[in-house]
């Protein structure tokens, strides 16, 4: 078995009893999509913030395997290392695209920013790379100079994805990427994501309360309740043969739309 790209042991962050996440263990492999599902308050967003280095835990450790096959413990890394990883090896897709985009900077500028941040100094090259990525996420490259302030929600999300993927990150964190979007727009976005993930062999950790999204995108699932993982396994196994009472409840509550 290939080594995981990210591993967490005994990961804990507590805001109050039963609020936060407690003693979480998980592994993510390259090219795999791990879904973390649960209701609001289950601790899944906290867990995502810990795993992506946006917060330090109270306890536990997180190993990340870099491009050069070194292992970094994210819980001991300096803020500057974490910020650097956040711009190169990681991608973070926020639920609200406004948190992940510069709304008053053009689409091209948004996508090019990470490149400029790692020393890319050729305007023409930056522009053509940005156009390429816009095509990948199905935004008309003719809109490269338009500001995302005027884009639809779905387009803003796709721009956010492009902005993150431009430095070829190996691990993407997504927090409810389809929240707030119309159903048909969600389908398009999920489709784009799935295609890119497969094409680029990226590992993804996606937090969602939407089981349909989980089934479509995730290879494996962690089900969280009150800050603990109460069930985990292959997505289709957890959704088709749920064992824990809570998981059965969650699955039963999915509206069947046919």
């Amino acid at each position: 078995m290939v080594d995981p790209i990210l591993s967490a042991q005994n990961l804990t962050k507590s805001y109050a009893p039963e609020q936060g996440c407690f003693s979480i263990e998980l592994d993510v492999w390259p090219g795999e999509v791990l879904g973390i599902v649960g209701e609001s308050g289950s601790g899944k967003s906290t867990l995502l913030r810990l795993l992506s280095g946006q917060e330090y835990p109270d306890n536990g450790s997180i190993q990340f395997k870099t491009r050069d096959h070194e292992s970094i413990d994210l819980t001991e890394a300096t803020e500057s290392t974490l910020r650097y990883l956040g711009r190169t090896e990681f991608g973070i897709i926020h639920q609200n695209p406004r948190d992940g985009l510069r709304l008053r900077i053009s689409a091209g500028g948004n996508i090019g920013e990470r490149l400029m941040g790692i020393g890319q100094r050729h305007y023409g090259d930056i522009r053509s790379i940005a156009s390429q990525w816009m095509r990948e996420v199905e935004i008309d490259p003719g809109r490269i100079d338009d500001k995302p302030l005027n884009f639809s929600g779905g387009m803003q999300q796709r721009l956010q994805i492009a902005r993150n993927l431009v430095t070829n990150p190996r691990l993407i964190f997504m927090d409810e990427p389809t929240g707030g979007l119309d159903v048909s727009v969600q389908a398009k976005l999920l489709d784009t994501l799935k295609g890119l993930v497969q094409e680029l062999g990226i590992a993804v950790i996606i937090v969602t309360h939407d089981m349909g999204v989980a089934r479509l995108l995730a290879d494996r699932l962690l089900v969280m309740k009150n800050g603990q993982v109460i069930e985990s396994g292959l997505t289709d196994q957890v959704l088709d043969d749920p064992h824990a009472a809570y998981t059965q409840q969650l699955v039963a509550s999915i509206l069947q739309v046919n």
Partner: protein
């Protein structure tokens, strides 16, 4: 060559949301499947045949016992295996042909069927040949290839499903009533595909309600009785 060894497998569903009701489905089930065989599970509805089949894919979990999958390199017990390893098995060794196509919006027939080959890094020109071939075999007209199956008839969708599941030529193929929505003509095609798979050494396990089809393709029958 042995491909599947099932040993003393048991499963009981526990319905927590219905007061913890227990539904025993399988009890100490054992059997094996070799390359070149087509083993058909049959029995009354509720006898656990579908559950067993899904357990062979890792879709359902056994409570106890072992389900050993023999690949060309090693033997993996599905009951104990890490989900990550099950994913690898599904990519390289196990295929499952379900009864219905799970529709993913906007993905075209061509992309659906070629996807398993792409994931395994098959050369694009070979992908083109193999997908074209299997779509023709299953009588899917070229006009449908670039369309997403959401608007197809049940039979057309199922044929896309079959194409997708069989295109990899996996060593082990599991089939759950694959022909229920197909006409006689296309059932024949599926029977041929199954025979060809057997001939090249695949091990097949399936559930078929169609008596005629069953008679055509089964090399062995296993009967299951409901536990309750």
């Amino acid at each position: 060559m042995r491909r599947i060894t099932v040993t003393q497998v048991s499963k009981t569903f526990v319905l927590h949301n219905q007061g913890g009701t227990q539904l025993p489905v399988l009890n100490q089930m054992s059997f094996h499947v070799d390359a070149g065989e087509c083993v058909v599970l049959y029995g009354q509805s509720g006898c656990g045949k579908s559950t067993l089949l899904k357990m062979l894919f890792g879709n359902y979990l056994a409570d106890s016992g072992s389900i050993e999958i023999h690949t060309d390199q090693e033997v993996v017990d599905l009951v104990q295996a890490h989900p990550h390893d099950v994913l690898t098995l599904r990519r390289q060794t196990l295929s499952f042909v379900s009864q219905f196509l799970r529709v993913i919006p906007r993905v075209s027939t061509w992309d659906l069927v070629s996807d398993p080959l792409k994931r395994n890094g098959i050369d694009p020109s070979e992908i083109e040949d193999r997908v074209t071939q299997i779509l023709h075999r299953l009588n899917l007209p070229e006009s449908l290839w670039q369309l997403a199956p959401a608007t197809f008839s049940g039979g057309e969708q199922q044929r896309v499903n079959i194409a997708r599941s069989l295109i990899l030529d996996s060593p082990i193929i599991l089939l759950d009533e694959p022909t229920a929505s197909l006409d006689a003509n296309n059932r024949e095609v599926v029977a041929e595909l199954i025979s060809e798979a057997r001939a090249r050494g695949a091990a097949l396990v399936g559930i078929f309600h169609d008596d005629h089809l069953r008679a055509q393709i089964a090399s062995r029958l296993i009967h299951l009785e409901a536990l309750t």
